[in-house]
Structures are given as C-alpha cells and as structure tokens.
Amino acid sequence: MLGKGNITHALKAIELMQPLETAVQYLGIEDGESFSPSSINADVLVIQFFSMYCPACQTDAAAVNEFYDLTTKPHTGQNIKMIGIGFANSEFEVAIFKRKFNVLFPLFPDPYGDAARALHAYSTPHFVVIQRTDNDNFKLIYEQAGALRNSEKFLKTILTHIE
C-alpha cells in the first residue's frame, strides 16, 4: 500500500505509452510518444492495476466497467477519469484483456512493473484514487487492494473521500 507518501513525485515518475486518439481526447493529454498520468486532465484519477492473468481481475471486470460508466455521468459532480495499468503485462496481453472484457477506459501495459512499483501496488486488482490539489500537486485519497465488486458502492466511497 502506498500510504501517505509523496504521491505527486510517484505519479510524475510514471511513464505510460501514448494511447489511441480517442483515449488521448478522453484523458486530455498532449500528443507524444509517452505521457505521465500526472498530465491527465482530471480532478480525480482512478488507477486500476490489473493483470490479464489474474482471475479476480477477470471476475471483477464487469463491475469495473460499470464503475467507469458511472464516472462518466455528470451526476457525480466531479471530473473523474480512469485508467487501467496491466501489471507485468505486455501490450499484446493488455489488448487481449481489453477485447475479452470489452473495457472502454484506456488500458496501458506495465511490462516491467515500473508503474506498479511507483505506486506500491504489489497485487492485482488494486485501485489507487488520486485527487489533484492544484495544478502541480496530488493527494492520495483512497486505495483498495482487492476487487471493486460493487460499482455504486465504490463510487460512493470515493466521493466521500474527495476533499
């Protein structure tokens, strides 16, 4: 678990490969070969660490998709964005997970586990929820090791942690 460490530093250290154009628009990032999640245009960023090889992630995929759908609704009153990071998964393996479970939010490979290490996510599934406190700083507001299970309950939990 990440605890109350320097989340801003950890987030900025992560480098993810540039996603497809639709995801670029959703995330509000600039064109380039790679980007840091700290550049995502969001007040609240939900990061799901998953693995194509993880049965709990496979079982949880429907609930996670529902949760993503809820985050896109205006009734949350928050600019929430979501990404998935495939822990020790290649681009090919991430693409299989995305296709198999019809995942609509952007997924990224983390073949050497660098992103997972930066955010201390040592098991999957693992959720890290980060709030932007100003232009250049972030705060960890919620973290969950284990399945999301109930999308509405998970959203409610996150909303109660937003400051």
Partner: protein, 196 residues
C-alpha cells in the same frame, strides 16, 4: 457441542462459499526466486515428441498420440500448484481459448502435483477449458522424458508445441521465476499454421 460447531461451519460454508472457499490469492505459497533452469532437455525441435498417457482432472486418461493428424498440441509444464507465477499463468490461457482454436491447437496443462491438489488449485482459478494432467506417479515420468524435471522434483516452466504430425516445433524452457509472454507462443502457433 463440537459436532454442532462443525455442522454450523459446514452450513455457513455452503451458504457463503465466497467467504469460506479459499481464493487463489489467499492460497498462494510464497517461494524465493530459484535457479532459472535446473534440467537438461533431452528432446529438440524437429524430433518426434515422446508419447505419454496421463490422468486428467476429469478422470479421463489423455494420450498425446490421440491428437495426431487432428490438432497441434501445446504442452504447458508449470512447476507447482499454489505458487505465485504458476497460479498467474493458466488463468491467462483460460481467456484465450479462441486463439488456440484459431491455430487449431489444444492446450494440455501438466504438473507433478496429484489430482486432488490440482482439483483444488484449478477450481480456485475458475472453470478451465483445457485438460489439466497429473504427472505425479511415477513421479515426473513425462517431465523426465522431455528433460524438464528439476533436481528438486518439480518441473521447469516449459512450453512445447507439437504439430499434427507429432513433431516438436517449438520449445521454451523459460526462467522458472518469470511467466512466458503470451505473444511469443501465439507467434509460434501462427508460424506453424501459416507455414505448415
């Protein structure tokens, strides 16, 4: 009193299996990194694959020869049930049955664990579409035939592709501590189907 407690626990387990049944993650036995490879192959690409017959979880005995002229066969040896990397390999194969179908291949999972252990372990993974075979007794006999039995009695993390003629077309005796990337296996299957 003790009997009542056992009965109550059993009922509660039946009602709430998600609480009482061990999940895959809960059951993992942590092991330190091991010597990457600890055996010497006795087969090579281009040779006829040694035939074998092993018991499967379904109770059926499965022979390699039964797939001759019908299917390409992928043998996935994994070292041991309930260990981290092994538990993190077959669940991935479990969601790509369509890829194996595309390349006219069957997957046979093999370990040296006994059938009851394999039953509990694979049940925690969910319903597997491919047969899981036990090379438990005589211990590791099939692994020995291929040269992938390690000195401590478990197998290497090894993948073999055997074509429809029974010829070994691909071998990957992988570092035991690391899961083999799926795309390499898929590329090898594609190559066999495309180029015969």
């Amino acid at each position: 009193m003790a009997l009542k407690l056992v009965w109550l626990t059993t009922i509660l387990c039946l009602i709430a299996t998600s609480v009482c049944a061990m999940t895959l993650a809960e059951g993992i036995f942590e092991v330190d990194d091991e010597k990457p490879v600890d055996s010497t192959l006795v087969v090579e690409v281009g040779e006829e694959a040694p035939n074998f017959t092993l018991p499967s979880l379904s109770g059926e005995k499965i022979s390699l020869r039964s797939f001759r002229e019908k299917k390409n066969v992928v043998l996935s040896f994994v070292p041991a049930a309930w260990t981290r990397v092994c538990s993190d390999q077959w669940p991935g194969y479990n969601i790509v049955e369509d890829i194996f179908d595309e390349y006219d291949a069957v997957l046979l999972g093999i370990t040296v664990d006994n059938i009851p252990t394999l039953y509990a372990w694979t049940k925690a993974m969910g319903e597997l579409w491919f047969p899981v075979l036990s090379d438990f007794y005589p211990h590791g006999e099939v692994a020995k035939q291929y040269g992938v039995l390690r000195s401590n009695g478990v197998t290497e993390r090894a993948l073999f592709i055997i074509d429809k003629e029974g010829i070994i077309r691909y071998i990957d005796v992988h570092d035991i501590n690391i899961r083999p990337p799926l795309e390499v296996l898929v590329e090898a299957l594609k190559d066999i189907e495309d180029n015969g």
